[in-house]
Symmetry: C2
Subunit: 421 residues, 2 copies
Amino acid sequence: MEDRAKRIIIVGGGFAGLQAAKSLADQDNLQITVIDRRNHHLFQPLLYQVATAGLSPAEIATPIRSVLDQYQNVNVVLDEVLDFDPVQRDVIGQAGRYPFDFLVVAAGAGHSYFGRNEWAGLAPGLKTLEQATEIRRRILLAFEKAEMESDPERQKALLTFAVVGGGPTGIEVAGAIAEISRYTLEKDFRRIDPSRTRVLLIEAGPRILASFHEELSRRAARDLEKMGVQIWTSTRVTDIGEEGVRLGAEFIQARTVIWAAGVEPSVLGKKLVERFGGELDRVGRPIVQSTLELGSETGIFVIGDLAHVLGPKGLPLPGLAPVAMQAGRHVARAIGARLVGRPLPVFSYIDKGQMATIGRKRAVMQWGDIRLGGYIAWLMWLLIHIYYLIGFKNRIFVFFEWAWSYITLRRGARLILDSHR
Amino acid sequence: MEDRAKRIIIVGGGFAGLQAAKSLADQDNLQITVIDRRNHHLFQPLLYQVATAGLSPAEIATPIRSVLDQYQNVNVVLDEVLDFDPVQRDVIGQAGRYPFDFLVVAAGAGHSYFGRNEWAGLAPGLKTLEQATEIRRRILLAFEKAEMESDPERQKALLTFAVVGGGPTGIEVAGAIAEISRYTLEKDFRRIDPSRTRVLLIEAGPRILASFHEELSRRAARDLEKMGVQIWTSTRVTDIGEEGVRLGAEFIQARTVIWAAGVEPSVLGKKLVERFGGELDRVGRPIVQSTLELGSETGIFVIGDLAHVLGPKGLPLPGLAPVAMQAGRHVARAIGARLVGRPLPVFSYIDKGQMATIGRKRAVMQWGDIRLGGYIAWLMWLLIHIYYLIGFKNRIFVFFEWAWSYITLRRGARLILDSHR
């Protein structure tokens, strides 16, 4: 028993899971398996660029296998995890069972429609490549249909884009649509004037970018407005239909609605708590110890967007890539400590700040008390995102792609693909 | 009979009427009477500045009497003209009758609600000082009420301003409200964020500033957007209520609606045609000869916004101050010619171009093939408007008022007055 390699199962190939795998790799006597239902790691912070035809799907996705192929003791399995067996200590996948000594669950989060799941088809979210290309298809098709439409009322509805949710994803999408319509497509159409597109950014709270300092949220609002985004705060979506969105008493005709509002953690969080005990928070994330372990000495860790980790200010840590990656590294240390019988270290997040991009030359970022906006913030955003894009090949490609579209104002990935490619 | 001074009645103390009076004055053997129902000449191009608290009413209004007091043979009468007596050749006023040899009707135009006159109370137009101060009152009160309102939905409705009509007046008002809310009031309120005000500019046609070159209308749209104005073209107002505006299928909550859409000529145009013959155009303006005379040798002239004068391109001349002033001068020449038995000269409008201001540093102007936007256009707009403001005292005051508000970003006339003062 002592000599058998410890089996570590990592569920999810996002920032958290991949970082955990890398940090655990090459240690003696460990057998690591990464299970994901997709074969690729997705660089989610740039997903909006795919949705808005700035980048191609391949440019922000890397096969998980190739990210990890240098590590001899890491396996990659394409499977969908359905449940856990607490007696056998097995992960139950669709294709098979995976026994574990240690379990790291980093299954992430999708979109929450606040109980109105029928809106999902009408207003796709932006969490997967499929959703991103679907949004891209809808945006570009809307302009094409508007070009063929002679009725001004219907044309207006086609040229109205409602983005629901004023967080980083919402402002990135809204900014990009405004940019496309104002600059990229301006000369492409004869009968419509794409620059008369209505891009509505709808936020239920009193301000956009609520997780940022008020000054930056104001700055971002001004910058978005300058690009033609129409920002409606304190505005709650009460219904979405084929024709448009209902906002309490108000109604707006919009043929393209994009959902960037609620976050819903993977259902595996609930399964985990059902099988191994523990508690879920209000949105459904398992609440972990300060060591990131679920319960006491379970050998089960939850990290990334799926985990509820209490931060220094008594608030859960946000669902950001730096949090996920630091947690991945921490888990490796924690498992190492447990293996030699030492107490687990406490996870302490080193704030790497947060940022959101608004358009071709504008972004906002904050890091502790440092707050930046405008061009400098955008440059930093660009460098950081290019740097972190996993995989050297991609990094170079993305850089050239951006340099090109920056100079020419064109968007290279203006493809309308039928079956989500 | 030969020796009796010819009696000239001028109805209306606007740009056209005043210019006619001045050009006729000091000629021998003429007795000139200017009748207006108001005692003041109004510099209408700056009326939006009163509506948006930039200038005080007195700064853009001058007593007609003081404009004309240097002319010995000009009388000023405060009376409302109701009708005309074609037999006696009398102007019929509320206070009395005014016999004339020559009649110059320059009674101007008000707003047309396209047959929905019940909208007038809900959405005041911007043609008189009373309307301007009423709009100012509503705008400033809306912010005050929003500050006291705790319900975010009602607060949003209070902070939504819908400006109907994308002509020069509409864009000037919308731009000024955006400017006020974004810059002037920003620090005045505690509980509301005036910079989150929605300013909607609603235009039924496919573009704003339809009388301008397409390039300028696009430029203006971009500049307005940069200031936070949300421009909705191809959007027709189908109903206005206490709660907001209905736009076909769409509905927007807006407690302040400002009407800058249709133009309706004074009813005196119709009276004139009924009494003396002639024809009205589609909107109700008498169609005059190329000499500006109504019919043949009637001695009756119609000028200013009330007149339908065919321009060089087969279109009626626009309702602009330069047209009115040139027509006023022409009428003096025409009456002079008739008095000595010569044929009347033909009116030919010398294009002085047109301009519209968008904000504190931006305007658009076109003059023949010359098209300007941005800061230069705004400076020219400023100089021309200050120069033409009638009355030396006012000119200096307005200049200082503007210099002050330009430097301080404050608006001096932020008064909420109850009884339209």
